[in-house]
């Protein structure tokens, strides 16, 4: 069914959008001449300053999921969504900076799977490389699909045209300038998002009457939704019990599941973000990268979650912002209580359209478009590196010339983009396949941090232990998901396909506990198998394991410039934010 587009852009909006793309392509073109070796293409020649890698580290993760999804969660859960930042990102970013970057950067591994090869063995690397490569293609495809669908709905753009045009632009600048080009554009996109969304929050807060106006409106909304007053404006209220907070989780599941397993698993092992830090120009710069990223990260809730909360606050009044979710027949969907189900994913885009006049609207939508495209580019650069180094070079063609691998990197960029387009259409045609895949990825990712943590901090861990620990952690995740269900769901994609032994109060609670189970399984199996297999001689593990590696010495730099000082400041600020919004 074709709906009329929500709004139209005027000439000034299109002109600004076009200007952004001129600069994006210009950056790619300007970097083309300095991209001569495979190291330039895949690792930016390890030459970038830390403020660039730091903002790219943040921005690579700032795809559509973040901007749209966090706005949606803001409208659904309120300020408690900030836990995904303050609990679910900052501690892990500090950890990767202080404790893991010395191994990633110092081991001279060119990718995260390659670190696994150096530390463990080829089979562990290949397991990680293949699952990661498949994941990046689908993530990039999902990003394209979401973009095509959203801009079709908002502006009536053709889905095919927006997918193809964005694919061609991303292809052009990654093909030309490789990782540097992707990183530069990620930083550019970071500033576009910040400057496109700050006025949205400013105008929105003015409209709802500041924080006090927002609080009183959201208190009404909370009570109407069966929550306690204040549930949407206090991050920690009611966290002792799953029934008394909008997330439907309790503090232990939140801190262990999200704050420890999921967040450390993502920020410390996902090559998409780690690749940015590995492009830094020195060990010190690499260690600073995640810390620099953590500073804007802790304030991002105000940029991406607040719009959702404002949209919810304004929806209570006449001419609401968040539209109803429509069923297949075009009629609004109702929940079991007979209330209209809101389409939270549209909270942020609709607020943009409601508050921005033409001019600003062009800037805001360009920022949104930019975040979709850099999401694609980030995945494509991670894919071409893992494909070329960890799959092609290690299994298909060893010992070829550097030009050959550079050529392969460019070919893999074209291939990766074509596969992403295919994935975008698969996502459009079979919605369930995507849900199944995302679930499989969740199983694959859940135990990863256990493998890395054991590898880096326990010299006795062996390749067999790592491989089988990882594999059994994935199975553990699947088994847990298959034996549990969130409250009110039917067996199937939501779980319970092996039978039902436990019911969780919410999907988030189930997800967090799946992660905890996967992590624990991986730790136990890795330890048992490692102890039963032959350890590697310590001489081979220098630079790969904490106890056998020289620690970076910072005594020659002033105390306020040391990563540790920086890290403590970041943690103190985050603690303060938690206290302010308790």
């Amino acid at each position: 069914m074709e709906l009329a587009p929500v709004t139209h852009l005027s000439a000034i909006d299109y002109a600004m959008m076009a200007m952004y793309f001129v600069f994006v392509l210009g950056i790619g073109f300007a970097l083309r001449r300095s991209t001569k070796t495979s190291s330039d293409f895949f690792q930016s020649g390890r030459s970038l300053p830390p403020w660039v890698t730091g903002l790219a580290f943040l921005s690579a993760n700032l795809g559509a999921q973040e901007v749209i999804g966090m706005g949606a969660s803001g409208a659904k859960y309120g300020i408690a969504t900030a836990h995904f930042y303050w609990i679910g990102a900052i501690p892990a970013m500090v950890f990767v900076a202080l404790f893991m970057m010395p191994f990633y950067y110092g081991s001279r591994a060119r990718s995260v799977p390659e670190y696994l090869k150096l530390r463990f063995d080829e089979k562990t690397r290949t397991l990680n490389a293949i699952s990661f490569a498949v994941m990046t293609i689908f993530s990039s495809g999902i990003s394209m699909y979401a973009m095509g669908k959203l801009f079709n709905l908002l502006l009536g753009w053709s889905f095919d045209v927006s997918v193809l045009v964005s694919a061609v632009i991303v292809l052009a600048y990654v093909f030309a300038g490789g990782l540097t080009s992707a990183i530069y554009n990620e930083v550019l996109q970071f500033f576009m998002i910040a400057f496109g969304f700050a006025p949205l929050v400013f105008l929105g807060m003015r409209q709802v009457g500041g924080w006090s106006g927002l609080t009183s409106r959201l208190n009404e909304a909370a009570i109407a939704n069966g929550q306690a007053s204040g549930a949407y404006t206090h991050a920690w209220q009611g966290m002792t019990n799953t029934a008394t907070n909008p997330l439907g989780v309790e503090a232990f599941g939140l801190v262990m599941g999200l704050g420890f397993v999921l967040s450390f698993g993502y920020w410390c092992t996902d090559f998409l973000v780690v690749q940015r830090a590995m492009a830094a120009d020195s060990m010190l710069a690499a260690r600073r990268t995640p810390l620099i990223a953590a500073v804007p990260k802790m304030f991002f809730p105000f940029l991406v979650i607040l719009p959702g909360m404002i949209a919810l606050a304004l929806t209570g009044t006449a001419g609401g912002i968040i539209p109803a979710k429509l069923g297949a027949d075009g009629a609004p969907l109702l929940n079991s209580a007979g209330k209209v189900v809101m389409d939270f994913d549209l909270a942020t885009p609709m607020l943009l359209i409601k508050l921005f006049p033409e001019g600003m609207l062009g800037l805001g939508l360009t920022a949104l478009l930019a975040s979709f495209m850099s999401g694609m580019a980030g995945n494509v650069t991670a894919f071409n590196t893992v494909w070329t180094y960890d799959i092609y070079q290690s299994h298909i063609k060893k010992n070829a010339s550097d030009e050959h691998y550079l050529w392969m990197g460019r070919a893999a960029t074209v291939g990766g983009i074509l596969l992403s387009i295919a994935a975008a259409y698969v996502a459009g045609a079979f919605n369930n396949i995507m849900e199944v895949l995302q679930l499989v990825f969740a199983f694959v990712n859940a135990p990863l941090f256990a493998t890395f943590a054991l590898g880096m901090f326990w010299k006795r861990a062996t390749g067999h232990g790592a491989f089988w620990g990882l594999a059994s952690g994935m199975c553990g995740a699947m088994l847990h998901h298959g034996l549990t269900l969130p409250n009110g769901s039917v067996p199937g994609i939501k779980g319970g396909f092996f039978g039902l032994v436990h019911t969780y109060p919410s999907e988030l609670a189930q997800t967090f506990w799946t992660a905890i189970v996967a992590f624990s399984t991986c730790v136990v199996i890795s330890i048992v198998i490692s102890l039963a297999t032959k350890p590697r001689p310590e001489s081979e593990l220098k630079g790969l394991v904490y106890s056998l590696t020289d620690k970076p010495v910072d005594t020659n730099i002033p105390f306020f410039k040391r990563p540790l000082t920086f890290a403590l400041a970041v943690l103190a600020m985050t603690a303060l934010l938690n206290i302010l919004f308790i």
Binding site: I12, A15, M16, M19, Y20, F23, G26, I27, A30, L31, R33, S34, K36, T37, S39, D40, Q43, S44, G45, R46, S47, L48, P49, W51, V52, G54, T180, Y184, V187, L188, F191, F195, P199, L203, R206, Q207, I292, V295, K354, L355, F356, P357, E358, G359, M360, L363
Partner: protein
């Protein structure tokens, strides 16, 4: 190491922000009398205000690039 970055990223960021700031601010000036258009933004000429902010930000980036010093974050 062959990969000396050949382009100072502060240049394109500054350039883009100056261009967008001028476009947005100019559009804000031209439409300043149109009160109906700015009802959405609560009566504020957000185009003019934000155009100026972006222009100034762009100039700061260009100055930093010219000085050649890393921006302090």
């Amino acid at each position: 190491m062959s990969g000396e970055a050949s382009l100072d990223l502060r240049l394109p960021i500054g350039g883009l922000f100056v261009v967008l700031g001028v476009m947005l601010g100019g559009f804000g000036l031209a439409t300043g009398g149109n009160t109906e258009m700015y009802v959405r933004s609560g009566g504020l000429n957000i185009n003019l205000i934000w155009g100026v902010v972006m222009l100034l930000t762009g100039i700061v980036f260009l100055l930093l690039a010219k000085r050649g010093a890393a921006p302090k974050r």
